[in-house]
Amino acid sequence: MSHKHLAGPRHAVLHNLPLLAAGLIVLLVTVMIAGVSVGAIGIPPDVVWSVIASHFFPGSVEVTWSTGRDSIVWEVRLPRVMLAAIVGASLAIVGAALQSVTRNQLADPHLLGISSGAALGAIVVLLHTGLFLGLATVPLFAFIGALATTIIVVGVANLANATNASRLVLTGVAISFVITSLGSLGIFLGDPRAAHTVIFWMLGGLGLAQWAQLPYPLLALAACGTYLLLNARNFNAMTLGDESATTLGIPAGRFRMIVFVVCALLTGAAVAFSGIISFVGLMIPHLVRLVVGGDYRRVLPLSALVGAIFLVVADTVARIIIPPQDIPIGIITGLAGGVFFVMLMRRRSNAG
């Protein structure tokens, strides 16, 4: 266990899941409040609070601000911060689950082709068909793309008898390459001047967050997250190997495929609204395991919370680092992820 060197009260805290979760929830709420308070346009904190209060309790506060500022806090920043939390939690919990069932430390939501499928859906809409269903078009087709790719991967894995851990990863990677190439073809055949539209989508961004769209990723997180959390013990067994898991009564191959589909649904729902945000699913489970150990009953819920906190902070950084511009969030998470992995390797080399 990674925290063997700790003893006494600190050790007890790290095993006290409710306490840790409560602490992280408090931290999450704090960073969300910070996220809503800062941005390209400077708005004093008391105005921010008054705007939020006036929406929750209409008529309680005297309106001294312009509708522009009201919209910034309530319609732009708040949905954005909520989406960051939902997507961060989704990607992190998917990363943790996939790393367990594939027994691969480098597994993340984007590895198995799901995100390439979503990107292909978005490319077709952005560069070729146009937004013929209005604002819902891109999320819908991104989700359909993710779903279709998942079906292809599951189908190929079953046909090729590749449902064991490493072969599933290979199948996912192979399909991902094919779909990515199709996506690149779509970009090439489209208007080159509009290619940067797709690049911005693929680098990830939470700028399109609206209240009306939030129920979808939230519902996906609630449903899929619940399934994953309820099966936390099974994830522990899966890390021991397929044979050990089977002797413990878990149908390893089938469980793996089910988890893969559940993760694909959750990833698809997240990516459909935020584009492809890298490193969250890869890095957060590692970080959590470093601190609390490998028990998935702790790793899964804590990854979700840490993922949410991380993405809210990353989004806030993206919005304030070169105001008034909004850096695509994938750049921030990629940089953070790279630095994190270098530090992780250094630590491993010191310990091992």
Partner: protein, 315 residues
């Protein structure tokens, strides 16, 4: 002085009443109909050429600021004077927060001129905040079918802006001036010359970025008496290979000047590359430089056409 001002007041009153009576006004913006109950008072325009269109119509007092200029285009001296106290709200495309922070009620932009398809700032996303959008006609090609680019696109935009801000007479006068200026200039040129073949070189060394059928340089070149060698390509701006360029033998090369690579560097690149040595434009050293703001729809197009026409004359 008194008799003149006595006439002036009623005339002004009549003009103001006329423009007030014109509201509500509905204009066509790409594939949408947009209705204005009153002229916008806090307009934001994106990019140099669109901002110049607003300023040419004298709308600086109705503007809250402009965006998308200093990030990648150098601000021209003349524009700097006209903008005066107007702030640049964002060096690149604005975010929703920037527009809302300026309490904007109108956004004049285009597809890939301040808005991206499926992006954060589009007519649909801004409609929720009561910010009306008018789209640059040339850019409509990115979201719908559109006929070939022409100067009428620019005149159409000026007219629509005139209607939106209640200065339709001013817009019509401006357009009439432009038309007259162009007609006079074309008439002054020697007649009956074969139209020179022109290649628009925007950027790119391995593969050139050029203007196709739906981009405004095609219209400028035709108005100046030339033919764009790529005007059969059904696209706006696009990347091609060098082979079709060499095969089509352009007589004149138009360089679009902006960004880090200077026009001189682009000209030198074409002169020194052995593959281009037989192109008539290189052999006769016929290069014209257009600034970015002249090669995109806006008031500068008129001067651009004159410069092109002068360069197209046989030397």
């Amino acid at each position: 002085m008194r008799p003149a001002s006595a006439l002036l007041a009623p005339a002004l009153l009549a003009a103001t009443t006329a423009s007030v009576l014109a509201f509500p006004v509905t204009v066509e913006s790409c594939n949408r109909q947009v209705t204005f109950e009153a002229p916008p008072t806090r307009a934001v325009s994106n990019d140099v050429n669109l901002t110049e269109m607003m300023l040419a119509l004298g709308l600086a007092d109705s503007m809250a600021g402009y965006t998308g200029v200093s990030e990648w285009v150098k601000l021209d001296e003349r524009l700097r004077e006209s903008t005066g106290a107007l702030p640049e709200l964002s060096p690149d495309y604005p975010t929703k927060e920037v527009l809302l922070g300026a309490d904007a009620d109108f956004y004049f932009a285009g597809w890939n001129y301040g808005m991206r398809v499926g992006g954060e700032v589009t007519p649909d996303t801004l409609a929720a905040f009561g910010i009306k959008v008018y789209e640059l006609t040339e850019s409509c090609i990115h979201i719908m079918e559109k006929p070939k680019a022409s100067m009428e696109d620019m005149y159409n935009d000026l007219l629509n802006l005139g209607r939106i801000f209640g200065v339709e007479e001013r817009a019509e006068a401006l357009i009439a001036d432009y038309r007259q200026e162009l007609a006079d200039f074309i008439a002054s040129l020697p007649t009956a010359q074969t139209a020179p073949k022109v290649f628009v070189y925007d950027s790119g060394e391995a593969k050139p970025f050029t203007a196709g059928r739906y981009a405004i340089p095609t219209a400028l070149i035709e108005a100046a008496g030339g033919i764009n060698i790529m005007d059969d390509v059904e696209s706006s701006w696009l990347e091609v290979g060098w082979e079709p360029v060499i095969a089509r033998n352009p007589d004149v090369v138009v360089i679009v000047n902006y960004g880090q690579v200077t026009a001189e560097e682009k000209i030198t690149f074409m002169r020194e590359n052995a593959a281009f040595k037989d192109i008539p434009a290189v052999v006769n050293d016929r290069f014209v430089v257009l600034d970015y703001v002249e090669a995109t729809p806006g008031p500068r197009n008129i001067e651009a056409i004159k410069r092109l026409a002068a360069a197209f004359l046989p030397s």
